[in-house]
């Protein structure tokens, strides 16, 4: 449990606010941060906060959820293509599984991801929901 707390704490920048990196050599936006640009393979350590806007690239609905996520089932996990380029995997929220479509505009929100029991830490992080106000891609 304590290992998990420290792990989540280290990731709070990317989990809470989509803090990634920008490559100063080729301008590529990187998420999650990995300190090396996957495009040009140069060091890339400059923090860059992504807008959180993107669209559903692909998705899958889980009826049998892993431990800690049972209460949310059924829920949809999607590959999100962010407006700045990176692709990430995230849970969708505020949407019924049968309303999700490929290409659907979505935006990042910070929500409860899971809790470590009744007395443990609450983990917050990004999820994506259908865009509240239409935005240009």
């Amino acid at each position: 449990m304590e290992h998990k707390v420290a792990h989540d704490w280290r990731l709070r920048g990317q989990r809470y606010r989509l803090e990634g990196e920008v490559c100063e050599h080729c301008g590529n936006k990187i998420f999650p941060p990995r300190d090396i640009c996957p495009e040009c393979h140069q060091p890339a350590k400059k923090p860059y906060t992504l807008s959180g806007r993107g669209e559903v690239y692909s998705f899958s609905t889980l009826s049998s959820a892993p431990e800690g996520f049972e209460a949310y089932a059924p829920y949809t996990v999607a590959l999100i293509k962010l407006a700045e380029g990176p692709m990430l995997t995230a849970q969708l929220t505020d949407v019924a599984p049968n309303e999700v479509t490929i290409g659907m505009p979505v935006e990042m929100v910070t929500r409860r991801i899971r809790t470590q029991g009744e007395d443990g830490v609450i983990t917050y992080g990004y999820k994506f929901r259908p865009a509240l106000v239409a935005h240009a891609q």
Partner: protein, 351 residues
């Protein structure tokens, strides 16, 4: 310079950004009444937080909307204060999580305020003081709640989820300048929740006249009198709204018309968002306000007290209104749930 009861800051201050958040789920009063065998309830419907929402997630989205409207960098905030009666942790500040999510850490004050339904305006008063003294240029005050009513209790018809964030800054950058504020507080046992209890209790006859009406009217009457203003001098007025009847009656006694109250009356469609209630009405009013409009805001918190503010809307309002979703956008985003789903979403089922 200050002989009365109104508080004035050393330098002029105002609201530079505001933002709200309301969860998408709704349960109607008709549905609650059906389950408990009542004929009807005091409002149409209330907003219900989803399974992955709480006071902190509500505060984060409201604050992000306020930051977009203010167009300042989060690092410029010198305080993040979250007022709530439903913090997810009994010990551990909601405000540090909110500040981290905004990117405002680490050089700022961060803490939680507790004063039932006026915790949000308590934070707002403190923010006016911090910025008004020159200790910082920007401070964020939030009122947010996922309020709980005991199943079958009359509070269950209205206890709702939602919140609003207000960024206080120098008057020259403000969309609404604060012309004066006042607080009126007494020890009144109208509503409380003991430690480790899930649901609050209310002191029946203390709820109306000795609680809500006495404190709101005292605060509003004194601020109007000491500033030499009358109801007719205002474009709008917003009062704490545990239902529709109370703010309408308080407004009427103070001389305000239905039209002056209309834009800020959101309780009929979202319920009582407790620490978020008065300021979400204020945000809905700012959504439609015009330069030059004067707005009276008076909150109420059980226990008990009222914070009253006189605002003057500036030229900056028009451009900032459309930078983020409005209260009406969130009210329109609506998914109706029945009592069974509501009981599941709000953790009312013991398994």
């Amino acid at each position: 310079m200050n002989n009365g009861h109104i508080m004035h800051s050393q330098r002029p201050v105002g609201i530079v950004g505001y933002g709200s958040y309301i969860p998408m789920y709704r349960i109607t009063n008709a549905e609650i009444a059906r389950v408990w065998g009542h004929e009807s309830g005091p409002i149409k419907e209330k907003a219900v937080a989803g399974l992955d929402e709480d006071t902190i997630t509500i505060a984060i989205e409201a604050a992000r909307n306020a930051l977009v409207r203010a167009a300042i960098a989060p690092e410029e905030l010198r305080a993040v204060w979250v007022g709530s009666e439903s913090p997810p942790y009994a010990v551990k500040p909601s405000a540090t999580i909110v500040a981290e999510a905004l990117g405002a850490t680490p050089y700022l004050l961060a803490g939680d305020m507790q004063f039932a339904c006026k915790a949000g305006t308590e934070a707002l008063q403190a923010a006016l003081g911090l910025v008004g003294s020159g200790m910082g240029d920007y401070a964020l005050a939030i009122g947010a709640d996922t309020a709980q009513g005991r199943p079958g209790d009359e509070l269950e018809f209205t206890a709702a989820s939602g919140g609003t964030a207000l960024i206080v800054g120098p008057a020259e950058a403000a969309l609404a300048v604060c012309r004066g504020s006042l607080s009126y507080v007494t020890d009144t046992p109208d509503f409380w929740r003991r430690a480790h209890e899930q649901y609050p209790r209310h002191g029946g006859r203390f709820t109306g006249e000795p609680g809500y009406f006495h404190h709101i009217q005292a605060a509003a009457e004194v601020i109007l009198e000491e500033m030499g203003l009358q109801a007719a001098d205002f474009a709008y007025a917003v009062f704490h709204q545990p239902n529709v009847k109370f703010p309408m009656r308080a407004g009427g006694r103070l001389g305000f018309t239905k039209q002056q109250l209309a834009p800020g009356m959101v309780s009929n469609t979202i319920g009582n968002t407790y620490a978020g209630a008065a300021i979400t009405g204020f945000a809905a009013t700012l959504d439609v306000a015009n330069p030059g409009d004067r707005i009276l805001l008076a909150s109420f918190g059980s226990g008990a007290g009222s914070d009253a503010f006189v605002w003057e809307v500036t030229e900056a309002i028009k451009e900032r209104q459309s930078r983020a979703p409005k209260v009406a956008d969130y009210i329109r985003r609506r998914a109706e749930i029945d009592y069974a789903l509501y009981a599941r979403y709000r953790g009312k089922l013991a398994m």
